[in-house]
């Protein structure tokens, strides 16, 4: 459904007294991956790795510096042919509006992502209006049905509330309803539960999983939380400083991580079992942004296995090491 090819996004940093951009942050650097229909993908990594940027690129909230994002709309009915592949980075005008029916986003902050002056009905109905779907009364029915489905029930109690009259969990349910109301093919969810209370998160995650089934939606889940990615996604891609270093089926990647960064990340996650002895986290130094990085492996400075080959070779490309399991490392 989605194929990202050599996706790159560079941000200039102003340096010098005349504010001329002399340095570039390689937020996303030559990233390629697939998002097949029905296989939710978790994009995980620490802050600054580029996962949020990729999320925004996939819904055209940002434009790539280079690379392609090929999107083939899934068939409306099984047995039909799907749409042709289109590079969404190149589309303009009316095509963009058509595209937005297919790709929606859920944001992290349930307090910032909604217009405080709009009631729930208007917030959720807006995408329908923009897309010209249905007449007014039809939209009311659609929205009510969706509110019930996301657990804001009876819908009539919620239609005319303002955001400040809703709790964090309720607002996030509204955000989910808004994202799904046009029947998108995929939804980018950027840390959808991290600002919610723990006992509320489970409900939201279960709701998203259920809707993935019933609405046929595929998620690109951007998160720093590996446990959430495990719960929600069939596949996980691990990012480090603008690059994907490993990608594979969730359980396999967690059981048999191949890249030294993935191993360090996994060993650092605290385990809710008192007395559990985690392995030593094998990584050197501190993280930093990828500003004007040299051409070698981005992980070289921190890698416990770093060798001469790594110093003298360009950044390794993703190579298949097992069925569906790819790793970018010279030494694996």
């Amino acid at each position: 459904m989605i194929r990202a090819e050599s996706l790159t996004k560079l941000f200039p940093i102003s340096r010098g007294r005349f504010k001329r951009a002399t340095s570039l942050v390689h937020a996303v650097d030559g990233v390629s991956f697939d998002l097949p229909r029905g296989q939710s993908l978790g994009l995980v990594g620490e802050s600054g790795c580029g996962k949020t940027t990729i999320g925004k690129l996939l819904v055209k909230l940002l434009e790539p510096t280079s690379g392609r994002i090929l999107f083939a709309s899934p068939p409306a009915k099984s047995g039909d042919a799907g749409g042709e592949s289109v590079d969404i980075a190149r589309i303009k005008g009316a095509t963009v509006r058509n595209f937005r029916r297919h790709a929606q986003m859920i944001f992290q902050d349930p307090y910032e992502s909604m217009n405080p002056r709009r009631v729930v009905l208007d917030t959720v109905a807006e995408p329908l209006q923009v897309q010209g779907i249905g007449a007014s009364h039809e939209r009311l029915d659609l929205v009510s049905g969706l509110l019930d489905r996301v657990g804001l029930t009876p819908a009539a109690n919620f239609l005319f509330r303002h955001p400040h009259e809703l709790s964090g969990g309720q607002r996030q349910r509204v955000a989910i309803a808004r994202a799904l109301v046009v029947g998108p093919s995929y939804v980018v969810a950027d840390e959808p539960t991290s600002m919610l209370d723990v006992s509320i998160r489970a409900g939201i995650m279960n709701l998203m999983l259920e809707l993935a089934q019933t609405q046929g939606v595929t998620y690109l889940l951007v998160t720093h939380d590996l446990a959430v990615a495990r719960y929600m996604c069939q596949r996980i891609a691990v990012m480090y400083r603008g690059k994907i270093v490993e990608v594979g089926a969730t359980e396999e990647l967690l059981q048999d991580p191949l890249h030294p960064y993935t191993r360090a990340l996994l060993s650092a996650v605290p385990v809710p079992i008192p007395g559990f002895r985690r392995q030593e986290v094998n990584i050197k130094g501190d993280a930093s942004a990828a500003i004007d990085p040299p051409e070698r492996c981005r992980f070289y400075d921190r890698c416990p296995l770093a060798s001469v080959i790594c110093l003298n070779s360009p950044h390794p490309t993703l190579a298949e090491k097992g069925p569906g399991h790819q790793v970018a490392c010279h030494l694996v």
Partner: protein, 348 residues
């Protein structure tokens, strides 16, 4: 009695901190917020006690009370916070100055953002040491800062950096070093790694554990993260809506939770290890602390709630050092089965 007898063993038996019936309200326009209600616990020397709960449970208010750092609209209704024989809550600001930082200190989530941007970080700690008379000379203060930096895993040259030159994780470590500067008996850590990446968090937690052992320091660790608390704490208290609803050894609270809220919390956490189990959260929202529900504050969301829960404040059910306030605690019988707590009331 021989005057030279070493009294150290007796000192070790005395708790580092005793909190008794701490009750706090905030006065707001909408009414009185019953933020903390009858919280009591004991902290032994060298022990790490965790306080977990979700937003509005009162854990941060408890933390602030322990340092008596409360906003103007806070009203201490009753309670004692005992460091040795001294009740911090009855002290004046002048008296408290001798205790804060020297006997008890605090690191909070935003500490890394509250360093003074205009001074080098080492200098800020030197100043704190001097203000609290923890060293005799500036020279000694400086060498103490060097040792502290080593303790928290910061390179010696970081002493001369400004806050903006350091990453979030490093700044948080500076804040920890500052809290340790006068070698307090008790340190309160409020969500200190929540805003940090997991690899940085791991490093800080390990260092903190080493420091705690080296200095035989007690710690109150406040967080919403059950995984961190499992790793870091010896004793665990669970808070809900201003009340401490369960308390026990961490392994016991995790292994055999008594309170339905504790169990719900444990089953809300996804994990990267073990079997992938379906997560079960809780319906509804945390209660309004102005109009608190009658009876048990948890009853509107509790799967085990009955009529008595809606009407009467629940009793304390105790098994050894593990207790919970509940009409229907989950409990394990001698044969390993689970029974509702009504049947164990008689046994205790």
């Amino acid at each position: 009695m021989d005057a030279s007898v070493d009294l150290a063993p007796c000192r070790l038996l005395r708790p580092a901190l005793v909190v008794e019936d701490l009750t706090l309200r905030y006065l707001t326009r909408r009414g009185e917020v019953k933020a903390v209600d009858g919280v009591s616990f004991t902290l032994a020397p060298g022990q790490a006690l965790g306080l977990v709960g979700e937003s509005g449970c009162g854990k941060t208010s408890v933390a602030m009370s322990l340092m008596k750092l409360l906003p103007d609209n806070a009203r201490l209704i009753r309670g004692r916070v005992l460091l040795g024989e001294h009740d911090l809550l009855t002290m004046t600001e002048g008296e408290l100055r001798r205790f804060r930082w020297r006997r008890i200190s605090m690191v909070f989530q935003a500490a890394m953002n509250s360093l003074d941007p205009v001074y080098r970080v080492g200098e800020q700690i030197v100043e704190a040491i001097e203000n609290h008379n923890c060293e005799d000379s500036r020279q000694q203060a400086r060498s103490r800062v060097s040792r502290l930096f080593g303790l928290v895993g910061l390179e010696p040259q970081m002493v001369d950096r400004y806050p903006h030159e350091l990453s979030g994780g490093m700044r948080q470590r500076v804040a920890i070093a500052m809290a340790l500067a006068c070698e307090p008996d008790v340190i309160i850590a409020d969500e200190i790694t929540t805003a940090l990446d997991v690899i940085v968090q791991d490093r800080i937690l390990r260092e903190l554990r080493l420091i705690q052992n080296d200095l035989q320091m007690s710690m109150v660790y406040i967080t919403h993260d059950m995984a961190v608390v499992a790793e870091v704490t010896d004793r665990l208290g669970v808070m809900y809506a201003g009340k401490l609803v369960e308390m026990g050894d961490t392994s016991e609270v995790f292994g055999q939770p008594l309170h339905p809220y504790t169990e719900a919390l444990l089953r809300s956490f996804p994990s990267i290890r073990g079997e992938k189990l379906p997560l079960i959260g809780l319906p509804g929202e945390p209660p309004d602390l102005i109009q608190t529900p009658p009876g048990c504050r948890f009853h509107p969301r509790c799967p085990s709630a009955t009529e008595i829960c809606r009407q009467k404040v629940p009793p304390k059910v105790q098994i050894g050092t593990h207790w919970a306030d509940c009409w229907h605690p989950l409990a394990v019988t001698a044969t390993g089965g689970r029974v509702p707590g009504d049947q164990i009331h008689g046994a205790n």
